[in-house]
Amino acid sequence: MRTGTELRIEAGPEMKTALDVQKIRQDFPILRELVHGTPLVYLDNAATTQKPQAVINALVRYYTNANANVHRGVHTLSERASALYEGARETAQRFLNAASSAEIVFTRGTTESINLVAQTYGRANVGPGDEILITALEHHSDIVPWQMLAEEKGARLRVAPVDDRGEVILEEFERLIGPRTRITALAHVSNALGTVNPVRRMAGMAHRAGSVVLVDGAQAAPHVKVNVQELGCDFYALSGHKLYGPTGIGVLYGRLGLLEKMPPYQGGGDMIRVVTFEKTVYNDPPHKFEAGTPHIEGAVGLAAAMDYVSGIGLERIAAHEQELLEYGTRALEAIPGLRIIGTAPQKAAVLSFVLEGAHPHDIATILDRHGIAIRAGHHCAQPVMERFGVPATSRASLAFYNTKEEIDALVKGIHAVQEVFH
């Protein structure tokens, strides 16, 4: 990626070889599917990614050889399941470069991770008249939990605006940070536009005013190397299913010093040390935030996905996706009547567009009949749509298994759309 500090490509040994995309595609059995009689062209990766055989195998192996409850049994299977589950936590720690595996809380996904912070750290630290700052790029899951908190506490939600390219206006962002700002929450990568926020810089601004910083990393973790210590954030949220792992599993990274002071999230088993009817002593982080039997196979599958992605190398993935993005941007821009929404110079491989005379839903239906899967709609980011004055967009979002031939197929599909509405 041609980006700043956060996304610096370090020329490691893996950079010497480009991706063998055809070989990688063999790892994803679903990519061999035919849709309406034509080979699947899957360009809806920002919604969810497909799963490599390594992840599918990890799930099968878990249920074939290791299934048991964790953290309580003394029998062999429970030991195996616990080792796999806690091993997954260590994999996630390495993946994000967290200082300790105790900083890795497993959740259902990014949405739950953000709600967890809002309901624990937020409720304990935000009061009447305090402020929560977000950006105009946020997904609904990084808006609504803060609105709920602000409403409950009589706090104020402030929103940093974006410019016409889809970049947060940093001067405005900085101006909105004040002495009452308790929490600053921002997307690492925008799901609707692909904009990459300069997180380290923005986190620095927020920290200087004494605010904690939560980063919604759902769209970043699959595409760029995330280093939570280098980013300098206090919380980082991601979803397994957008990272080639299973649905229903995600990660909340939290700085240990904060997690230790935070009240628990849900009550139940696993999150306690001693329970009497008079008083309960809570467990330490991360277990304090993981009430009940966790999504064990989800964590195991996510770890397999992280290992798979790390094995290929996020630097190589980012380089390939940037090449695709540049190719796709040029190809789409050449189509008369097509306008790309979101043209930030620092962008992940998302092509959001509107087409004169054709509504995104019709575009998506017609493309589907050509085997091409894209997303049409507001992408759970209605304020972003409003900012750009469109009710909806069509969005092609790319992954490292996509090819230039698939972009060509998309272009051909868009021409077919234009034929219908010419």
């Binding site: 309406h36 005379g357 054709a358 509504h359 995104p360 839903h361 019709d362 239906t365 017609i366 009949r369 049409a376 709609g377 507001h378 209605q382 749509m385 009710p391 909806a392 077919a416 034929e419 219908v420 509405f421």
Partner: protein, 150 residues
């Protein structure tokens, strides 16, 4: 275009989506209801001037996909001059058509509305075709100010 896409985007649908009929505000409307599909953001407002149980005038405004726009446009053409009873029958027959059932009533005839027969092969698009109709029904029943197809 493949044949099944032609079934969905029939000429009359494309035509009405590009040149919607009765796309205006009726100042003397005594019924006005907003319809909204939160899933895709499609919006439609139906205006009706109802006199003695007859639709004297009907129009719409809104923004949506080709299917929802054409559906609203064709609806206004089909409904003008119809009685409340006819309107309800048309609603039922149209609903049956787009969900793949045999239309419930022989009269009044669906006519141009038959163009939506391809929709039943696209389950995700049924709501696009029916948004205006649900909105119409709420308008004729005099219910509320807004209706959702969800």
């Amino acid at each position: 275009m493949s044949s099944d896409l032609k079934d969905l985007y029939q000429q009359v649908i494309v035509d009405h989506s590009k040149r919607p009929r009765n796309y205006r505000v009726i100042e003397q409307a005594n019924r006005r209801v907003d319809g909204y599909n939160p899933l895709c953001g499609d919006k439609v407002t139906i205006f009706v001037r109802l006199e003695d149980g007859v639709v004297k005038d009907i129009s719409f405004q809104g923004a949506g996909c080709a299917i929802s726009t054409a559906s609203a446009s064709l609806l206004t053409e089909a409904l003008k001059g119809k009685t409340l009873e006819d309107a309800e029958r048309l609603f039922e027959s149209f609903h049956d058509l787009v969900t793949g059932l045999q239309p419930a009533h022989e009269e009044p005839k669906l006519g141009k509305l038959e163009a939506f027969s391809g929709v039943c092969d696209y389950p995700t698009r049924v709501k696009c075709a029916t948004l205006a109709w649900h909105t119409l029904r709420a308008a004729l029943k005099g219910e509320g100010e807004s209706v959702s197809s969800e």
